[in-house]
């Protein structure tokens, strides 16, 4: 985006964007790891080789990245480090060249609203809200919603969860929760989507539908993703594979 004539409003918006840590006309959000080692897994990790732990890694913006990891190798831990909800590591997670810790809470919230989205393995649905409200919460959290309410309905139809939209989060099955969590992650703008075993509770058919939707939404945003899973799969046209 090139700005030739900056009006006062442009400058105002730019300042707002800077405040939230969003500078849309810069290049894509860079995520890099710098000799990252989880403190609880340190002994196990130093004994074996890993494509991720304890080495410099740069995730290519816009690329579909798969991280394959057997149980207990720190898959979920990695996702939490990437999304900055856990910090018990040595080394660094660098976002646009800066460690997570250097960003303010407001700036991190801005990134989570505009630049990076997440699907947790444990889904994290509000049980006191309906399925639709769980999605809406994420959609209307941003000052300007990225997608319309109709678009949400459309995505729900594609993932076969239209019938549960008005059900309380408490009564949803794991499969339903997982699909709601996927839709919730897709209603916001992002440059990176971080997914932790996103299809673990889905049957083959639903998993493929979900994968197709995710791929479309990433393409629409020119966004990349980092997906962690236990096994080898061919649901996406992955650009990069790592073994954890």
């Amino acid at each position: 985006m090139s700005v030739v004539v900056a009006t006062a409003m442009d400058i105002f918006h730019l300042e707002k964007a800077l405040y939230w840590g969003i500078i849309k006309n810069t290049s894509y959000m860079q995520i890099q790891l710098d000799n990252l080692v989880p403190v609880p897994l340190r002994d196990k990790i130093v004994q074996r080789s890993s494509d991720i732990w304890n080495r410099p890694v740069a995730f290519t913006p816009g690329s579909f990245t798969k991280i394959k990891a057997p149980s207990g190798t720190g898959k979920t831990t990695l996702v939490h480090y990437l999304y900055h909800i856990r910090t018990d590591y040595t080394g660094q997670v660098l976002v646009n060249g800066q460690p997570w810790a250097s960003y303010s809470k407001g700036a991190i919230a801005g990134m989570r609203q505009e630049q990076v989205s997440v699907i947790f393995q444990d889904l994290r649905i509000f049980e006191q809200l309906t399925a639709l409200e769980n999605i809406e919460l994420k959609r209307v959290m941003n000052a300007q919603a990225y997608c319309t309410a109709e678009k949400v309905k459309e995505m729900a139809a594609r993932l076969n969860v239209t019938h549960v939209l008005n059900q309380s989060g408490r009564t949803l099955s794991y499969g339903e929760r997982q699909r709601i969590a996927i839709i919730r992650a897709l209603v916001q703008p992002f440059q990176w989507l971080i997914m932790d075993e996103p299809f673990s509770h889905l049957d083959e058919d639903n998993a493929n539908r979900a994968a197709q939707l995710i791929a479309e939404e990433c393409k629409a945003r020119k966004a990349g993703f980092i997906l962690t899973d236990l096994d080898h799969d061919t649901r996406f046209a992955y650009d990069t594979h790592y073994n954890l």
Partner: protein
């Protein structure tokens, strides 16, 4: 579709500490009412005093002298004010203006003109013109003038007319007649004598003395006096509020005396001020407790929704959004309490004004500006304290 705010309302339940919230709100309400009553009562009492004071214009001026005690008798110097005492009096906050009363340092005799066979020794004093309540074009003197303008105390003429003249079967004299009578004034010191014509130009309610212009006094003291400037034994001050308890306490502590009638309200004022201060003090204490309970309530709400708030933050909710949401829960409550307290005190004021008016005491029917400002100030304080609390507890868990 529900707004973000409505969704937050479903997630962050503020109903958990309802009893605490009611306690805090009740405490805030009572604290506010007490504070506002204290401030309003203070204003009202000032107003009452001002009205009475306005009826007596000379109350703004006090002539102060040392009490003459038996031990001091025969030692005139002990009733004089030392320069240090004068400086101290001048720097008191209640002293708006300060003037010496200068006495003559020569002998003065007055004789009635013609065949009246009236002759008396007398004295003169002078005060700066700004302290004199008689405004008169004749009140001036230059060394070339042979006529001295004189101001007599009103009381002096009254004493003569209603005391002396009636009992001695002498004629009563009007002010006009006194003003028309020229008197022969002789001032002397040792062998030096000079005669003047004295003319009464006015009567003072404020200063009980025989006053001559300062220019004459200075000239005559210079020519006939000892050459030394004597310390004054009476001074005059101008004060905004003679009922100021600080003033009466100062006079009492120093052993000075003045016209007690003029400072009689100071005691009442002191009592009212004490009562009002006590009420205000309790209001403040209660306000502090209300703020504490509020902050406990906020802590409880945030702690009880810790998981939900953490998930909201994980999903990208900015701490500012959460703070704003929580403040939106409380602010309408404060404003309601503030308005309710103001209305109650306003009703009380209106009622008190009506009651007092029946006894010929007049206070405004409306609240004082200060009371409104105080209510606003308390609300701003509560807002700030709560905002700081919300911010602190949200930051602690996010």
């Amino acid at each position: 579709m529900p707004s973000f705010y409505h969704l937050l309302k479903k997630i962050i339940q503020t109903g958990i500490g309802k009893s605490r919230l009611i306690m805090a709100a009740g405490g805030l309400g009572i604290a506010m009412i007490l504070l506002l009553i204290a401030i309003q009562a203070h204003t009202d009492f000032d107003q009452l005093l001002n009205n009475q004071r306005n009826a007596n214009e000379s109350a703004d001026f006090l002539i102060i002298n040392k009490k003459i005690t038996n031990a001091m008798m025969g030692q005139n110097a002990r009733s004089e004010f030392s320069p240090a005492e004068i400086a101290d009096l001048q720097k008191q906050p209640f002293t708006e203006a300060f003037g010496f009363i200068t006495s003559n340092q020569y002998k003065v005799t007055a004789a009635a003109p013609g065949d009246l066979h009236f002759y008396t020794d007398m004295f003169f004093e002078s005060v700066p013109d700004s302290f004199i309540d008689v405004k008169n074009d004749e009140w001036k003197w230059t060394p070339s003038d042979n006529t001295i303008p004189i101001i007599l105390p009103n009381d002096f003429l009254n004493l003569y007319n209603f005391g002396f003249a009636l009992s001695q079967d002498l004629p009563q004299i009007s002010q006009e007649t006194v003003k028309a009578l020229p008197m022969k004034i002789t001032i002397s010191q040792g062998m030096m004598t000079q005669e003047f014509t004295g003319r009464i130009v006015g009567f003072s309610d404020r200063i009980s003395s025989f006053l001559v212009p300062v220019s004459f006094m200075d000239w005559a003291n210079g020519k006939f006096g000892s050459g030394q400037t004597p310390s004054p034994s009476r001074v005059i001050i101008k004060t905004k509020d003679p009922s100021n308890p600080v003033l009466s306490k100062y006079l009492e502590d120093k052993g000075y005396s003045t016209n007690q009638d003029k400072i009689k309200y100071s005691r009442t004022k002191l009592i009212v001020q004490t009562i009002v201060s006590v009420i205000g003090f309790f209001g403040l204490i209660l306000l502090v407790f209300a703020l504490l309970v509020f902050s406990m309530f906020i802590q409880l709400v945030i702690a009880s929704c810790k998981k939900e708030i953490q998930l909201l933050v994980t999903l990208g909710t900015a701490p500012r959004q959460l703070q704003r949401y929580l403040m939106r829960q409380f602010v309408p409550l404060y404003i309601t309490i503030g308005i309710a307290a103001l209305l109650l005190v306003a009703a009380l004021q209106w009622w008190a004004a009506a009651k007092l008016a029946a006894h010929d005491m007049f206070i405004s029917q409306w609240l004082a500006v200060g009371t409104g400002c105080a209510a606003l100030l308390v609300l701003v304080l509560v807002y700030i304290v709560n905002r700081v609390n919300v911010r602190k507890y949200i930051n602690a868990i996010s």
